[in-house]
């Protein structure tokens, strides 16, 4: 049964349900030894927005990389060693002075894991999922990202296959920065498209 682990005894109903699932799926041979710990570690500490920040910084510095990134996101992102679940069909959309891109998943929580990690809580909540499609300009302003009237907003709804990543505009006065310094400027929210740098 499930008692081979050292986790504390479940207390809440949902913890009990998860423990039951773990016992059942382990018995079915679907959960190899150490698998849960391995997956948890991967998404808690090894995968996150720092990956996407490296992709963005490289694109800012290397025009040829940027060209490849916009032409085939999956392949260009794999060049930097990032890939895996939820990253099989990556499309990178570029912000300019005239066009602002933002990503959403209206039905559930699709998100580009290899470059951004797991989504923040608000991304998965009903208000964001509904309002980003219905009234993106108002919602972006509320989230601290007001856009000029003349800027076009493109909202990308992640589908079963495609995952989007926003390539933010490079901030002014960063010409002398190294790739690592540039990557440190790139925030998660700027790559979702709910912030500008």
């Amino acid at each position: 049964m499930s008692d081979s682990t050292h986790r504390p005894a479940p207390v809440s109903p949902v913890e009990q349900r998860v423990a039951a699932l773990e016992a059942l799926l382990t018995e079915r041979g679907l959960v190899p030894e150490g698998f849960i710990e391995q997956v948890t570690r991967r998404y808690e500490s090894e995968t996150g927005p720092m990956n996407g920040a490296k992709v963005v910084a490289r694109a800012w510095l290397d025009p040829q990389y940027k060209q490849r990134l916009l032409a085939d996101g999956t392949a260009a992102i794999a060049e930097l060693g990032f890939g895996g679940p939820e990253g099989d069909h990556m499309v990178v959309v570029e912000n300019t002075a005239a066009v602002h891109n933002v990503i959403v998943c209206t039905l559930c929580s699709c998100y580009p894991w290899p470059v951004l990690g797991l989504p923040p809580a608000w991304y998965k909540d009903p208000p964001y999922r509904a309002r980003m499609v219905r009234e993106p300009r108002a919602l972006l302003a509320e989230m601290g990202c007001p856009l000029p009237e003349e800027a076009e907003i493109r909202v990308w709804d992640s589908s079963a296959e495609v995952r989007y990543l926003v390539l933010p505009q490079r901030p002014a006065a960063t010409e002398d920065m190294t790739e690592a310094e540039l990557a440190a400027l790139v925030t998660r929210d700027s790559m979702i498209g709910v912030a500008r740098l």
Partner: protein, 85 residues
């Protein structure tokens, strides 16, 4: 609530906001879905995604990881009869 052991490091992607999981059961149920996708569906995420969409639509206000749990519970009866990794 006890923090998972792996939260003790300093290398977590905190800079951009919250951590991925608030409690150990959330990371467990996340990983269980990954196990099912990988070992029962050969990496095809779509069956689980459809259950997640259904679970979220059924109770839009329910906490996210509880919907995730409900989705996995709904997926279990559809698993192939016998599967060995």
């Amino acid at each position: 609530m006890t923090a998972p052991l792996s939260l003790s490091g300093l290398d977590l992607p905190r800079r951009n906001g919250e951590l991925a999981f608030d409690a150990p059961w959330q990371s467990t149920v996340f990983a269980l879905a990954a196990a099912v996708i990988e070992h029962a569906f050969g990496g095809d995420r779509e069956p689980f995604r459809q259950q997640l969409i259904t679970a979220i639509a059924a109770e839009p206000g329910r906490p996210y990881w509880e919907s995730w749990t409900a989705a996995l519970e709904a997926l279990v009866p559809t698993l192939p009869e016998r599967s060995t990794p």
